[in-house]
Amino acid sequence: MNRRVAIITGASKGLGRALALSFAKEGYALGICARGEEKLEDAASELEELGGEVVAVRADVTESSDVERFVSIVEDRFGGIDVLINNASKFGPGPTLLADYPTDAFRDVIETNIMNPFLVTKRVLPGMLAQKQGSIINVTSEVGKYGVAEWGAYSVSKFGVEGLSAIWADELEGSGVRVNVVDPGEMDTVMHETALPDCDYELADPADVVDVFLHLATSKDNGERFEAQSFDAKGASV
């Protein structure tokens, strides 16, 4: 089967939706999932209007049974997966000092944001390893590299995602399957509004940060960290 297939988690809004649209425009067949059915169906309809082939599955990717169902349905429909973008994540409460952070919310954000790329990657890997190729792109954040006050569990979880990605990239070196992380930078999304409600500077449109993801879908990079807003669309990280 020559058609390339990408799956994107949390694809019903924000960056995930922008990524789904850009990959569909590039001719990828798409498997997308989100927790909310209505927005997911909207996204699927929009992709189909572009002429894209789409499998949209309502799924909570922090649940391994949902991950199994989502990835299996996509593999059954398209025969394999070339690109996985682990985009789904949650922010938790707005700006909060760690010392004030509710314990249950902290646990929930850490579990959601770290478990979901672990589970989805683990499920997608066997197919990629059998075909000796695949690109896994994990979405991180500037606060996954620098500790910044009041970014709380979200920031801690993104440090975790970067660690998970680095370990997996090392373990998969030479296998044909590549793992990289992308910091999309600050974007005009609901999540950013939660994180910085009083933001008074201009934010990027999610549609403007997709080039680096398209680059990584087919490049040779492994174990690299990219910043989307300083990525040169011609192929070089600047």
Binding site: V57, S64, S65, R69, S72, I73, R77, P126, G127, A130
Partner: protein, 335 residues
């Protein structure tokens, strides 16, 4: 055909990773080409493989095929066995007599009609009211793995997967490769053992009430990809061995043998029955579990080893307490 019985305490009831922390912590009984027996831990399997040998694995992934069903107040169980089309499956109905001219009610108002006999008694064909990805989604959300009577805990679907399973479609786990971890497969690759994959979607292995599938009437969908066929040809050309991980792999590869004795890429359905009288053409060794006396899988083993030797090995396995079934110990037979 084969006279032995499996004592209750030799039914593996729990996966090794739960009992001993890792799925490769099972035992390995190896029988070499001189029919000598060796007893090892499974993670020592590298001792029996040489650089250049090709391990062929079935990367079909297990789906949860057991569905609750009803007609009026009468409830029963459906076990899917083989996909026939985007709306139709062959299935086993476990329970009392059904009205065949009335729809079967499933969860979420999904319905199925019995449209005829399956490939062999007692299977039937079912036509569902939903199709394609929606039907698969429904099966995942409502189905359970097949758990036979020696399993006393409701292990999740994850438990019924090999680490390398990828292509959904088997209704029972192709369990011969269950004990492999990625770490062990990497160890074998570092030694120079090569890996290749086929897909064969395993159907039900038991129809209840002492009824067993006859391979001649038990078609299974399979695929031998081009890259795998090439690796097999290359392995044989260079005098190395092709080791099938599981009877499903033997069935798929032997179904792909041309009249010139070469393995070709192929996708289709096989009814091949490999037993004592069959001459194996594509495979030099088989890694498998321990099988029940009635199972056709056991008949296949006699194509690799004389029946007397096989029974002698099985009696030693019984004496030494090897464990049977999908969570059990492993048996490597080299020709």
């Amino acid at each position: 055909m084969h006279a032995f019985s499996i004592p209750e305490n030799l039914n593996a009831q729990t996966p090794a990773e739960i009992v001993r922390g890792r799925r490769d912590q099972v035992r390995l009984l190896s029988i070499d080409k001189d029919q000598q027996l060796f007893h090892n831990n499974f993670n020592e399997i590298d001792q029996f493989l040489n650089p250049g040998d090709l391990l062929v694995l079935n990367n079909s992934r297990t789906i949860p095929p057991v569905l609750e069903a009803s007609q009026g107040n009468h409830t029963f169980e459906i076990r899917l066995s083989r996909k026939r089309s985007s709306t139709s499956w062959e299935a086993l109905v476990v329970g009392d007599f059904l009205a065949i001219d009335r729809p079967i009610q499933l969860e979420e108002k999904v319905e199925a009609m019995i449209t005829g006999h399956g490939s062999e008694h007692p299977l039937v064909t079912l036509e569902f009211s939903i199709s394609g990805s929606n039907l698969l989604d429904f099966i995942y959300r409502n189905g359970e793995p097949v758990r036979y009577e020696y399993i006393h805990r409701p292990f999740s679907l994850d438990t019924y997967q090999t680490v390398y399973g990828s292509v959904p479609g088997s209704v029972e786990m192709p369990s011969a490769g269950r004990a492999f971890t990625w770490g062990l497969l990497e160890k074998l690759k570092r030694k120079g053992v090569r890996l290749a994959f086929i897909q064969l979607h395993a159907g039900l292995s038991y129809y209840e009430k002492d009824r067993w599938p006859n391979p001649n009437n038990h078609p299974e969908a399979f695929c031998v990809p081009e890259a795998t066929a090439e690796l097999i040809q290359d392995t044989r050309r260079t005098g190395n061995r092709v080791i099938a991980v599981g009877t499903t792999v033997v069935r798929a590869l032997e179904s792909a043998v041309t009249s010139h004795g070469e393995v070709e890429p192929i996708e289709g359905t096989t009814r091949l029955y490999v037993d004592e009288g069959y001459t194996i053409a594509a495979v030099d060794g088989l890694l498998t579990g321990f099988h029940e006396p009635e199972a056709s899988h056991l008949h296949m083993l006699t194509a690799f080893l004389p029946k007397k030797k096989l029974m002698s090995a099985y009696h030693q396995a019984l004496e030494k307490g090897y464990l049977w079934h999908e969570f059990g110990d492993m048996n490597l037979i080299l020709k």
